[in-house]
Amino acid sequence: MSIYIEPATNLSEAWLRTLEHVVDAGGHAVNVITTITDPLTPEDQTIRSALDEVLSVERKGLRVQPVETVAGTIFPYDIYADTELTFTPDMGKDALAKLDASAADLYTCYLDMLPILTTDRANNHGTYFGRMVSWPGKTGGGTNQLADRITRFRRAHKANVGQRNLEDIAVAGEAELLATLPSEDPAGLQVYAANDRRERGFPCLVHVDLTLFRHRISVAATYRHQYLVTKAYGNLLGLSRLLGFLAQQTGFEVGELMVNATFADAEHSNYTKAGVTDLIAAARSTE
């Protein structure tokens, strides 16, 4: 049965509530809905530190990465030279040029990284951000979905469109990428190929949906297997930053972030049931 986690303001609390629910459900659950109402609210330091501590321990047979590394697979924050400018339809030419250049540099930097990134076996099939900025994502020269969505959202902003729902129902497949006519609505970000038949491993994130409503961009992401300890927090952080980037580049406000994990895993087999319980206790600690 699906589980609707009580929405939280910040990603730390949303993650922790999700983990607690799935642990209470026995360690696994299907169709778990996690909602962050204000994704750019600062993280909770106690919760983050508790998780960082767990992820700093090497574990045999399990690839554990820092939260920032996981987050970077969705939005490579460390290579984004943020100008702190925000798009407005009437912004000056110079400011717009700087804002555009910061995005262009981000894409260029990431495409520079792709040949090296794909030498890691975990990235043999590409990376999430690679798929977003150069679909299908293993090399440069592909479709830059992110730039395309920003262009469309800016067009909507200039036309003062922000009070109607522009949600899409994009599912696995490439056909929607061909939708480039000016009259078409902003679509989701394709991160999953319809012909992808892998049963495990990348990609766990299969779709990112963007919805413009009341001048806010909201994100809905679908994971087919959400590893709640190893990956989920970093995933939420990366998606939050992606949303922040889209809002900055389009001038719309930040809406909510919703993640649907079709299968949520508390990873008792990786960290032991006691280990996950201890993690929750540390994250809930008030000291």
Partner: protein, 153 residues
Amino acid sequence: MTSDVGIGVKPGGGSFFPQSVSAVSSIPAPHVAQPTQPNLTLAQRVALVSGLSRPALRAADATAISSTLLSLWAAMTNRPVNELASGEMHQDGTVRISSQVAVWLIGRISEAYGRHKLVNLSRVKEIESLRSLGGLTGLLSAAISADAEGTLV
């Protein structure tokens, strides 16, 4: 069911990327409100970095490679070298970098050196070498030396 997105939420805008609160890392956030070279593109900033040729990299010692890496990092972020150099230190005593930055630097050095992939990430035994300037310098120095000796795989 009615969506309440946008209701009761404070206006956004301004700084979209608040500092991470991680206790593990406080790598400087890449904000460049006052960029070092505001009118140059990334490619132009990178082109100004010295030491980016195969002969120069082969002749460079660890100090020179480290300096080149720092300059490249500054070009990428459009921030001053000394600001990055005075950032958080790794436990190896050199400046801490993120693995994303390390990967980009490897890519740039590989391109300058003329070898598509100087470093294969799957063969990096010590992951911490991707998290410090000193570690990355050692990794690239070893790769360039191995290439010169014909033993790089």
